[in-house]
Subunit: 133 residues, 2 copies
DNA sequence: CCGGATCCTGGCCGATACTG
DNA sequence: CAGTATCGGCCAGGATCCGG
């Protein structure tokens, strides 16, 4: 988030929407939710995660994990063998987030056709408005 | 694009996580959730929304509303008086999204202190690691 | 194997000005 | 009042090299 202090948003949603925006900024990025869901199935090492996701860059995987770790949702465990081994796991706190996130994911899966349909209809309508022969 | 035709992400999350990413891309932006919540209280006209949010630019309000309308979550109603009047409202479909979103928002409000705390702890620990006197 | 550092690009978003 | 158009800054995020 940005620096608060000047942050007056609506007046009545003050704390509520600030909190919501904060968490949405965390998990609303490109990879966080996916990581949370995958880690929800059990601990994984770095390279497993990287292979599991397959579209993510090493950099973003590291950054996203760091962010989640910083907010207490992910636990990072280093085993100083050679070569080194690093495992990531959801904390109990992270698990409490898993529930509402899964809820949202479920909604997404259930209603995807409707969204697609609405989207197509909208685009068709727009095209008609624009293309006036 | 990596593997055209055979888009394999994780193998089993294929459709699920695609759908999730799609919806998160929609509502994970800067203003969508806020708009959904506000519109959840009833229909509002453009200028009311603009005043209600107070930090949003005219441009982003328009764009966000368009996006939500495109996906079938918001209904736009024009009353061709003079000056013109445009009302926005959640569709029934939009209302079904309101529930899981509210769930998430609730989580955010409930757990904000813990996040803050974890964040602080993490930053302190990092500082200790860096600053070796 | 893990992840830090650096460069670079696309797009998001805000500010402003202009139409109907 | 409601919306479009244009410009510009900023940052997320991908590619790559390097170091432990």
């Amino acid at each position: 988030m940005k620096s608060p202090g000047k942050g007056k948003i609506t007046g009545r949603f003050d704390a509520d929407c600030l909190a919501t925006r904060e968490i949405l900024t965390r998990i609303g990025d490109k990879w966080s939710v996916l990581l949370i869901v995958i880690l929800g199935e059990g601990p994984q090492r770095f390279s497993e995660l990287k292979r599991a996701i397959e579209g993510i860059s090493q950099r973003m995987l590291t950054l996203t994990l760091r962010g989640l770790e910083r907010d207490g949702m992910v636990k990072r465990t280093v085993t100083p063998t050679n070569p080194p081994r690093v495992d990531y796991d959801l904390t109990p706190f992270g698990h409490t987030l898993l529930a509402p996130v899964a809820e949202l994911a479920l909604w997404a899966q259930r209603h995807r056709p409707e969204v697609q349909q609405a989207r197509d209809a909208f685009d068709r309508a727009e095209k008609k408005t624009v293309g006036r022969p």
